[in-house]
Symmetry: C2
Subunit: 231 residues, 2 copies
C-alpha cells in the first residue's frame, strides 16, 4: 500500500511549492517508497488527517498519521531501516540538524523576501486573502514592499551561501558522494523558489547551481518534472 | 610511542592559541592517543619537519609527517579505526565539511576582528613584526583600527551563531549525544579567542556558552587547563 502525502499546492493542483513537503517527497523517493500526493491548500486546515498542526507535510502510512517534516524523516528512517539511509547514524542525524537550522535561519528568510509576492500570485483567491494577511502581519508591510528591492539584496544572499558553495565545490552532495536528507533540506528551499518564481537565486556558474541540477535529476527527474514557474 | 604535535604558541610556551591546532589536539585526545606538543612560533617556518606548508598543525606519528588539520583528522580516522570515531562514516565526514566551511567563513573572520590585537600582545617580538605586517596587509589598516569598534560588531556576530545555537539547544553536542570532530572544529574557534583575549564572545545564558563549558570539561579538562587570557 502506498503512503499518502498531503502536499501544499497552488491554484493549479500540480504546482507543489512547500520547502518542507519537498523534503518529505525526496525522502520518500530516497527510501524507494511509493507515494500518492493529495494537493492541499493553506485554508484547508480541517481537511488534514488527525493529528496535525494545521500544516503540511502530513503523511498517512498504513493508517498511521505522521506530521512535521523532521518527525516524518525520523519515522521513515526507523520504520524502513533496510531502505537507503537518510542519516545513516546518530552523527549523521545530529549534523543534519545543523544543516536544517542553517537552512531555516539563513536560506528561508532570504528566499521568502524574494518570492513572497510570487507565491501570492500562484495561489487561489481564498488562500490569497489568508496568505496576504498573515504574511503582511509578519513582515509589517505590504507584500509589494517586501520584494521591492530584491535585486539589491541578491548579492548578500549569494554571499551567505559561501559555506554551502565551498562544500559543494569539493563533493557532489552535502552528504558526500550520494545525497541524503541534508541535501533534501537545502534543496527544498531552492525547489520552493523554483516552483513559484522566475527570480533566479543563483549565478549560472555557481557550484550550488550545478548541485541543484544534480538534485533535479534524482529519482528520474522527480523534482524537475514538477511544474516550475511558467511551467 | 607518542605522537608529536607542532603547536602554535605565544611568547609563553604554554599559551596555545591556534584554532586549527586545537582541532588536532582534541582529535588526538578523542582517539585516546598520547601526544607530545612542541611549541612553535609563526616565524619558525624552517623548524617544522618536512613536508609542510609553513603552518601548523603538523604531526609526526612513528616517523610519518602529516600536516593540515583536515588531512590529520582523516589520517587519524583511517590509521586508528578501532579508536572512537571522529566522523563514523562518509555522511559524517561530508557533513562535517559543511560545519568546517561555516566555521571558517562565519566564525573565524568574526573572531579575528575581535582579537587580532590581543594575539599581537601575546606573541614574541619577532612574531609581532611578522604578524602585524601580514595582518595589516590583509585588513588594509592598522590592527588597532581593526578592533576599534568590536563592541558594536558583537550583536551581529552573536546573531550569526543562531544556526549553532538552535542546534545546541536540542542536543549536547553538534555530533549528538557525544562530541565528534565537528565539535572540535567549532570549539577550536572559541578556544583560540579564549587563549589570547578577555573579550567575551558569548552572553552567559547562551546555549553555545553552555556547550563551550562541556567542551572545556572533556578529556579531564584538557582545554580548560590550557592558559587562557590572563591565566
Amino acid at each position: 500500500m502506498s503512503i499518502t502525502l498531503y502536499d501544499l499546492a497552488g491554484a493549479e493542483a500540480g504546482r507543489r511549492f512547500s520547502p518542507f513537503c519537498w523534503r518529505t517527497r525526496m525522502a520518500l523517493a530516497h527510501k524507494e517508497l511509493e507515494v500518492e500526493t493529495v494537493p492541499w491548500r493553506f485554508t484547508e486546515k480541517h481537511s488534514l488527517p488527525q493529528p496535525n498542526e494545521g500544516r503540511v507535510p502530513v503523511i498517512v502510512d498504513d493508517g498511521e498519521v505522521v506530521h512535521d517534516s523532521s518527525t516524518i524523516a525520523d519515522y521513515l528512517e526507523s520504520r524502513y531501516p533496510d531502505r537507503p539511509a537518510l542519516f545513516r547514524n546518530d552523527i549523521g542525524r545530529a549534523l543534519t540538524r545543523f544543516v536544517q537550522n542553517w537552512t531555516e535561519i539563513v536560506l528561508h528568510p532570504g528566499i521568502i523576501g524574494f518570492v513572497v509576492l510570487d507565491i501570492h500570485r500562484h495561489i487561489g483567491p481564498a488562500d490569497q486573502a489568508y496568505f496576504r494577511r498573515s504574511r503582511e502581519e509578519r513582515f509589517g508591510k505590504p507584500l509589494e514592499e517586501v520584494v521591492k528591492d530584491r535585486e539589491a539584496r541578491l548579492p548578500a544572499f549569494r554571499e551567505n551561501l559561501i559555506p554551502l558553495r565551498r562544500t559543494l565545490e569539493r563533493q557532489n552532495f552535502l552528504a558526500g558522494t550520494s545525497p541524503a536528507y541534508a541535501d533534501y533540506i537545502v534543496f527544498g528551499a531552492f525547489q520552493w523558489a523554483r516552483a513559484i518564481s522566475d527570480f533566479e537565486l543563483l549565478a549560472p556558474d555557481d557550484p550550488v547551481a550545478a548541485w541543484r541540477e544534480r538534485m533535479l535529476d534524482l529519482f528520474g527527474g522527480l523534482a524537475r518534472k514538477s511544474p516550475a514557474y511558467g511551467g
